[in-house]
């Protein structure tokens, strides 16, 4: 193994390997200031397109540093500074005062995309969605996945409440900061 921290491609290869195997449930790697933690929800049933490895929804989250920022820290640049210690879930939780397409009630919270990528409503194609409108969620409930280059980022609720509105549809490309859901806070 090289002494230098891995570059994006090496991390990518590890994620690819996890995707291709059936028997890895969790994986944690730490090289210097780069940390990778993979937690797979379930096995993916089959490859989608012939001749191409499917992007399995392996949920990836960086426990102490945001994985996207780590991936951005490609040589020869220095590692990207983590602007603020990233929370366990990288979802941006915006209180009701923040602007949104629709008016938010005072007890509503907007869930925004923590990164640009593809929004998945369910852990894998065809399986039930993580949440539906009316569902009760806790702070740790996974609301959806945003895929960034085959890295599946769980978006957690961070607040307790009920799902009030879902603003995007499955498989939709989403911008950084794009409103995804509205959670009505528990009274």
């Amino acid at each position: 193994m090289p002494l230098n921290p891995p570059d994006a491609r090496e991390l990518q290869r590890i994620v690819d390997w996890v995707n291709l195997t059936d028997d890895v449930r969790e994986l944690s790697i730490k090289f210097g200031d780069v940390e990778l933690f993979i937690s797979r929800d379930r096995q993916r049933p089959a490859v989608q397109a012939p001749g191409q490895a499917a992007a399995a929804p392996a949920a990836v989250a960086a426990p102490s540093a945001p994985s996207t920022a780590a991936l951005a820290a490609l040589p020869p640049q220095a590692a990207a500074p983590a602007v603020s210690p990233a929370p366990v879930t990288p979802a941006s939780v915006v209180p009701a005062v923040a602007a949104s397409a629709d008016e938010l009630a005072a007890d509503e919270v907007l869930i925004k995309a923590p990164m640009v990528g593809t929004y998945y409503a369910s852990p894998k194609p065809g399986s039930p969605a993580f949440v539906a409108v009316g569902d009760t969620v806790s702070a740790e409930t996974v609301l959806c996945i945003v895929e960034v280059m085959k890295l599946m980022n769980n978006v957690e609720a961070q607040v307790e409440g009920t799902v009030s509105r879902i603003l995007v549809h499955d498989n939709q490309a989403v911008e950084y900061g794009q409103p995804l859901m509205v959670i009505k806070r528990q009274a």
Binding site: D7, A8, R9, Q12, T68, A69, L71, A72, A73, L74, P75, P76, Q77, A80, P81, V83, M115, V116, G117, T118, E147, V148, M149, L151, A173, V174, E175, Y176, G177, Q178
Partner: protein, 451 residues
């Protein structure tokens, strides 16, 4: 990769993002701009066919964030990425990621970026291609005897550079043979301490130089040059004013430079737009290869104005697999073009950048005047990025006309609300040295010292 591009993601901001959007529109390519939260209200965001926010203001989390850019390209299904200049434009790993993901990187291959990005490697390639490099040691030097042998070839003054150094660190000028042994041992000790590597390079120290570069464009088979740009008007290695043609070259030198640049490109199988930088020794009237920039450059409009060739459009076409249809004979340099980089900086306070809101912007116009800028009245310059807020480019039938036109355009330009370098440019342009054309890279520093 051989299909004409239908959509291009622009991984940049400011005037170059706007420049690429314009080229895309003229080629009926969908322009997809990625932007940081700080640029949400910028002109490129308004003018792109689609704009996608990819992160917070910090460049490391947005414009330099390779995974965010590629994720946007994949999620929003674009054919290609134009990196502009700066940010990810010369990042070989990013180019390699694009290649792996099947996204066209608008530039040369990742391998070429990597090789030319390594100064030692680039110098070796140049020598292989028969392109002159600054006389000096071929490899690293570890012994005084070697240094002595090289020094006798190179002459004095010479420069000792720590192999692991960079950015001006670990360098020493040796004026006389008498001090060579002492200087060598000192700089090697310093390098050992600073970088953990005592090896050094030796090369001729040039004291009266100009910076001249050749613009090339290649489809991988045909390589054309678009003449030179003279970027001698610098301040602390930052280019201030670029012009084409150079006021000091004769036809033979011009031809030699151009052929050297093309030979280098052919040696590495270069594709797309690139610039080969040379130092020109005013005393010996000869040139040496310094480095290659494997991207479009800030000052590319200077070459566009004298050649009539739209470099960004050629970049997009080549990336879409459309070969060049013109030959070198079709590239005709006409007149003279000058570019002034307008920065939101205060020359009276050491060129300190001063972000702020532009209360009034008046764009100069008329014959021979082009201003590539993303600023507008009411625009707020964010503090996160480069302080360049526009480029004023003037063309004239000859250098004199280009200069008076630039002065006229600078007089017409109004950027209220922030301090810019525009008045400083005017002073430079009106100076006897600049108008004579006879100066070197120390000119601006000397000009400022005189006050």
């Amino acid at each position: 990769m051989a299909a004409p591009l239908k959509s291009v993601l622009i991984a940049n901001r400011g005037e170059i993002a706007l420049r690429i959007i314009r080229a895309c529109k003229e080629l009926s390519i969908r322009s997809v701009l990625v932007y940081s939260e700080a640029d949400a209200d910028s002109l490129p965001v308004k003018l792109a066919d689609q704009a996608i926010c990819i992160g917070p203001p910090q460049a490391a989390l947005s414009y330099r964030n390779a995974s965010a850019v590629i994720s946007a390209a994949l999620a929003f299904k674009v054919d290609a990425i134009h990196p502009g200049y700066g940010f990810l434009s010369e990042n070989a790993d990013f180019a390699a990621l694009c290649e792996e993901e099947g996204i066209v990187f608008i530039g040369p291959s990742s391998e070429v970026i990597r090789n030319m990005g390594d100064k030692i490697e680039a110098k070796k390639i140049a020598r292989r291609a028969g392109v002159p490099t600054v006389p000096g040691s071929v490899g690293a030097i570890a012994e005084y005897s070697e240094a002595l042998a090289v020094a006798s070839e190179v002459g004095y003054p010479l420069l000792i550079k720590a192999a692991a150094g960079g950015g001006g660190r670990g360098m020493r000028v040796v004026q006389r043979a008498e001090t060579l042994e002492k200087d060598l041992s000192e700089i090697m000790s310093e390098a050992e301490v600073a970088f953990g590597d005592p090896s050094v390079y030796i090369e001729r120290y040039l004291t009266d130089i100009r910076h001249i570069e050749i613009q090339v464009i290649s489809d991988g088979t045909t390589t054309l040059h678009l003449g030179e740009r003279d970027c001698t008007t610098q301040r602390r290695n930052q280019k201030l004013i670029e012009e084409s043609p150079s006021p000091v070259l004769d036809a033979e030198l011009r031809r030699g430079l151009a052929l050297a640049a093309v030979a280098l490109c052919q040696e590495v199988g270069y594709r797309n737009a690139g610039t080969i930088e040379f130092v020109f020794d005013n005393i010996e009237r000869t040139y040496y290869f310094i480095e290659m920039n494997t991207r479009i450059q800030v000052e590319h409009p200077v070459s566009e104005e004298v050649s009539g060739i739209d470099l960004i459009k050629l970049q997009l076409q080549i990336a879409g697999g459309i070969p060049l249809t013109m030959t070198q004979d079709d590239v005709v340099i006409r007149g003279h073009a000058i570019e002034c980089r307008i920065n939101a900086e205060d020359p009276d306070r050491g060129f300190a950048p001063g972000p702020g809101t532009i209360s009034t912007f008046r764009q100069p116009g008329g014959f021979g005047v082009r201003m590539d800028t993303h600023i507008e009245t009411g625009y707020t310059i964010p503090p996160f990025y480069d302080s360049m807020i526009g480029k004023l480019i003037c063309w004239g039938q000859n250098r004199d006309e280009a200069i008076v036109r630039m002065i006229r355009a600078l007089d017409e330009l109004v950027i209220d609300g922030v301090i810019t370098t525009a008045p400083f440019h005017k002073k430079i342009l009106e100076s006897a040295e600049f108008t004579s054309g006879d100066f070197n890279t120390a000119f601006v520093a000397e000009f400022m010292e005189r006050g």
